[in-house]
């Protein structure tokens, strides 16, 4: 009791306690204000403190390139993002709690849509500043989808699959072939078969097609390797990764090792954002159902699961195909974001990246996958100026996480949307 009181007396304690009172809605509004502020005075402030332009990734790149500008970059980040966001979130905590409570009374989909709309607004405004930000953001969302779908296999199901970049490649090429074949005039496939205007509307079909191609690939791995447990899947899936890569390199009609270009610009930020949200929603639905939790039962004790009426083989194969499907969809988006794919992208390095994201963020957890995907892809962008040292720092971080939290930063935690958007006005009501 004494300690609790003391904590409240110190400035830090009071600050933390007052910030905890804001609901998620308040934080989103605070961030909206911050990105609006950047739009209004960002450039002026940046030039005033001696920065050449608005820092694109929270000043990391500037700080690493010219250490002399560290104070200015820090000042910029503090005065544009951190202080306004915290201040606004704190100041409007009463009205935002009131609003959150109002929203909370509606069916759950209404407050969720409001929160997502606000989140999209923030991301859109933030990405609007530079094309680089837009690209990074879209690739980050794709990385989240990849991480989450691999987590389904390596975390929830407890197998070790190495073929995820292979599924991504299948999806990328599947979706690319679909949209180039039907909607783009190209030297590989000739004239477009359907009017180009239709293309953007049919993009979801292309993505689903890419996903299905990937899950067919997954079926080919799953049938031989799920008869037994153990390391077989790791070896077979690694082989599959190489097979896919060299198969694509030898397929002349998709460009072989030179790659394939000409994908129309369908994967804009709203599209990628929407697909990522749908992906998280469906996967989260799945893992919270008893059918999805059967994956955990299979992982923890397969014999007991079987004795408790769980059809373990079907469960494993379906989950594997489901994970591969989302990797394929992520690949389709990836191809349309870059508007160019080549087989070299989907190699061992990609595999290492995705695996790192899964194990860094946390096994068996949607939060963990989001955290892992976002933090590692932003980090690897931010540390780009360090060149070779980047590949020392990121693995080092991973090793540290493995030492102190062997299952990842946020592992084994359910992603409960209701708890996330709950108003925070009555601390005594919280458990």
């Amino acid at each position: 009791m004494q300690e609790v009181l003391e904590e409240h007396i110190t400035l830090q304690g009071r600050l933390a306690a007052s910030l905890r009172k804001s609901p998620l809605l308040g934080w989103l509004i605070g961030l909206t204000v911050a990105v609006l502020l950047e739009h209004l005075v960002g450039y002026e402030l940046a030039t005033a403190v001696g920065l050449p332009k608005i820092p694109v990734l929270f000043g990391f790149v500037i700080m690493l390139k010219t250490p002399l500008l560290i104070p200015s970059a820090l000042f910029y980040v503090l005065s544009i993002y951190l202080i306004p966001a915290c201040l606004v979130a704190r100041l409007i905590s009463a009205p935002s709690n009131w609003m959150a409570e109002r929203l909370y009374r509606f069916p759950i989909s209404v407050p969720v849509i409001v929160h997502l709309a606000l989140l999209y607004l923030i991301l859109h405004l933030w990405a609007d500043i530079s094309a680089y930000r837009g690209l990074t953001l879209r690739l980050t969302l794709i990385a989240v989808m990849m991480t989450l779908s691999l987590n389904l296999i390596n975390g929830y199901m407890g197998e070790f699959s190495c073929s995820h970049p292979g599924f991504m490649a299948l999806g990328a090429y599947g979706a690319s072939v679909f949209s180039v074949f039907f909607f783009a005039s190209d030297k590989l496939f000739g004239e477009a078969l359907l009017p180009e205007a239709l293309g953007a509307f049919c993009f979801p079909i292309g993505l689903i097609f890419g996903g299905l191609v990937a899950s067919l690939g997954a079926l080919a791995i799953a049938i031989p390797s799920f008869r037994t447990r153990g390391d077989y899947l790791a070896i077979i899936s690694l082989a599959f990764l190489f097979i896919v890569k060299s198969a694509i390199e030898n397929l002349e009609f998709v460009g072989g090792p030179r790659g394939m270009s000409g994908q129309p610009n369908y994967a804009t930020l709203p599209v990628v954002f929407a697909v990522a949200v749908i992906c998280i929603w469906i996967i989260n639905n799945f893992v919270r159902s008893t059918i999805g939790k059967a994956l955990n039962a299979v992982r923890d004790d397969e014999i007991a699961a079987e004795a408790m009426t769980v059809n373990t083989r079907q469960t494993k194969i379906l989950a594997f195909m489901f994970g591969a499907f989302w990797a394929g969809v992520a690949g389709g988006l990836f191809a349309h974001v870059l508007r160019y794919v080549n087989p070299g992208t989907f190699g061992i390095q990609k595999l290492a990246e995705v695996l790192a994201m899964v194990y860094f963020g946390g096994l068996n957890s949607v939060y963990g996958s989001i955290l892992g995907g976002v933090s590692l892809s932003l980090l690897s962008e931010a540390l780009r100026p360090l060149e070779l040292f980047k590949w020392i720092i990121i693995p080092l971080l991973l090793i540290l996480v493995m030492i102190f939290r062997p299952t990842g930063l946020i592992a084994f935690k359910e992603f409960d949307v209701k708890a996330l958007i709950r108003p925070k006005g009555h601390p005594e009501k919280e458990v």
Binding site: F286, G292, A297, I303, A305, E306
Partner: protein, 256 residues
């Protein structure tokens, strides 16, 4: 007619005959016991009947239908529930999730329900949850509902396993040494629970036990297994006084 019938079942592990010419007939509502020294093949018989292994010879019929060659989950869904000798619980699932998981075969909402959270899924999950809560209450583990099983006392873990097996809605319940590693107090509790479960659900129970006292108190009929062969079968009194059984348990010298 018997509910469960095992006819001349034998099983070989490589060259070793683990179970030889084993037969059994269980009627509805009966409590049967299987005793025998370590390594006699008791658990192997359980694994054979529940489909974990496939018998080399012989037939197993449940409700008149042969279940040899079916996958364990199909057999379990038909009404053969079981517990394990060494607790086989899922370390990352809570008690409630354990009991709900065992109702897997009763869920019909399918993948569409799992992906999109349809009303049908919510209805079925709610039903399943209600049933699970009743079972947890019956077995006195509802206070642990949201805890991971790892954090529970040993006796409670045993009861969770029992609740989980009951959630599959078995017609015959196989209990593999339900009192292994228990102290006398827990043992007594477990006996009470088995009786309660038996009365409540009108189950047939097939029990493997080491402790003769427990078998003698609970069972209607007992088989004694030594080296994969049944050497005696009968009521507890008959078994207790059978010289062959005493020899198998205590050795020859003590027989007068």
């Amino acid at each position: 007619m018997s509910l469960l019938e095992v006819v001349h079942m034998s099983h070989d592990f490589g060259g070793l005959r683990a179970v030889n010419d084993y037969s059994l007939a269980v009627s509805p509502g009966e409590i049967r016991g299987l005793i025998g020294p370590n390594g006699a093949g008791k658990t192997t018989i359980f694994n054979l009947i529940t489909g974990m292994y496939r018998p080399t010879e012989g037939d197993i019929r449940f409700n008149g239908e042969s279940i040899v060659g079916m996958r364990p989950h199909e057999i379990a869904a038909r009404g053969l529930g079981r517990t394990f000798q060494n607790l086989q619980l899922w370390r990352h699932l809570t008690v409630l999730e354990h009991v709900m998981m065992a109702r897997y075969s009763k869920l019909t909402y399918g993948l569409v329900g799992a992906f999109f959270g349809t009303p049908k899924r919510h209805r079925q999950e709610a039903q399943s949850r209600q049933r699970a809560e009743e079972l947890m209450k019956l077995l006195n583990v509802s206070q642990f509902s949201d805890q991971l099983v790892l954090n529970l006392p040993y006796g409670a873990q045993r009861r969770v396993e029992m609740a989980r097996a009951l959630a599959t809605e078995p017609k015959v319940l196989f209990l593999d040494e339900p009192t292994a590693g228990m102290n006398p107090e827990e043992l007594w509790q477990m006996m009470k629970i088995i009786r309660k479960v038996h009365e409540e659900f009108k189950l047939a129970i097939f029990l493997i036990e080491h402790r003769l006292r427990m078998v003698m108190e609970l069972c209607d009929k007992v088989q004694t297994l030594v080296f994969g062969e049944v050497i005696a079968e009968g009521t507890p009194e008959e078994i207790q006084n059978n010289p062959q059984v005493i020899e198998a348990y205590l050795g020859k010298e003590t027989v007068e």
